[in-house]
Symmetry: C2
Subunit: 218 residues, 2 copies
DNA sequence: GGGTAAACGGAGACGGCTCTCCGAATCATA
DNA sequence: TATGATTCGGAGAGCCGTCTCCGTTTACCC
């Protein structure tokens, strides 16, 4: 992203290797895995890790930036679908797959949010997603009571399946099918028990600073 | 559980305090939060923590045992419902709420699975859950192609909403509604794209030892 | 109350992780 | 191939969390 690509080939190569191994390592052992281990896996000295990434947060940040770039690549296909409903399908499927395929992402996102709570990822898509939802609802295909927040939460939920490891990925589409069927406007659709939220309210809530009090569900 | 309740009141009190604070601390800062911090929060010396729980894993294990005990308390209501479909509703709702309300649970479960991969939590419920599903399907209320594994994964997904903090809990039922609608047998239900799994296969897969290779989704 | 066994608290040894530093190795350029 | 600049590697200093040890305190029982 903003990183200054070095003119030396070995430096570029190591940078790539470190990023690639970091994805693997973080997926396996979590986002706080020892960076010396990263050095070993990448076949590189510890010093090299810290020259490329001054600290763990810088590495996390770069993984995040790369992920966001991938996300932007998905936008045209999703938003350009024939029908609104097809867009919604693609939205849930592609974004869910994107998260599930990178199990380190949820942790990376959370860390970035901690480091910079004012940051609002993907805010530029908000009007587009809202338009997509309205279109699908106008077609009578998407249930009338879902919001953009609901969809992004469903994507997170689908993404959480990444925890089961790569072998689960083939089965992931079963849950996707159930969720998409639940999103369809059909006779007998159950009304939502509580009203939805605006994005702002949701963002402020989920990134509230300090210890989160946890009242009981019921 | 197997722990020998001390005859001294201060010991029992500290044990309770430590468990209660551990729930809070692990929910906020993750399952690897410093135990000295736990001691401070519980208003207790570091030595006391380690007398009650020889190491972090013992603490995790006890949180796990307590959670499983709660789970057993839920069983009669869920399995004793009027109809099979109502059982399925209660199953997804109550278990999802149980996980969402204890955000440290997913991490605790994963850790316990790492420590003792042969351990099969809730295996005694398997035939009961299968019976419940067959009943609901025989009623024509539950889609015919869902399995017990699907349901338990849906519960995990719902439970992952605990990450948003206690303030999200009121909204949690929106996703529950969507999922339950997706589980209903209705005209126009989308067929599953891939066959389901047996519990054994799923368990073996998700607790495969060693680094998990992560092939791409598509 | 007095005695005894059990539990408490916290200082500090220990181990592992982070990050720095600098001599050695590698690359771009001519 | 020679030169200079850049990057590499890994030993080790420093820090932070874990866990032990033991003198002090507390609870229980008579």
């Amino acid at each position: 992203m903003t990183s200054s690509a070095s003119s030396r080939r070995d430096a570029r190569r190591n940078h790539e290797r470190l990023l690639a191994e970091a994805r693997r390592l973080f997926a396996e052992r979590g986002i706080d895995a020892p960076l010396d281990e990263l050095a070993t896996r990448a076949g590189v000295g510890a010093g090299t890790v810290y020259r490329h990434f001054p600290n763990r947060d810088a590495l996390v940040r770069e993984l995040y930036d790369n992920a966001v770039a991938e996300l932007h690549d998905l936008a045209p296909e999703i938003l350009g679908a024939e029908t609104g409903w097809r867009s919604v399908e693609l939205y849930v499927e592609r974004l869910g797959a994107w998260v599930a395929d990178s199990p380190f992402l949820p942790a990376v996102m959370r860390r970035v949010a901690e480091l910079d709570p004012s940051h609002r990822p993907g805010i530029e898509f908000e009007p587009l997603v809202n338009g997509m939802i309205e279109r699908a609802q106008a077609e009578g295909a998407l249930r009338a009571d879902v919001t953009a927040v609901d969809l992004s939460i469903l994507v997170d939920m689908l993404g959480s399946l990444g925890q089961y490891g790569g072998e689960y990925l083939p089965f992931w589409r079963r849950q996707l099918t159930i969720i998409l069927d639940g999103l369809r406007a059909r006779p007998g659709t159950t009304p939502m028990p509580v009203p939805g939220q605006a994005f702002d309210a949701f963002h402020d809530m989920s990134h509230a600073k300090g210890p989160k009090p946890r009242p009981s569900v019921e």
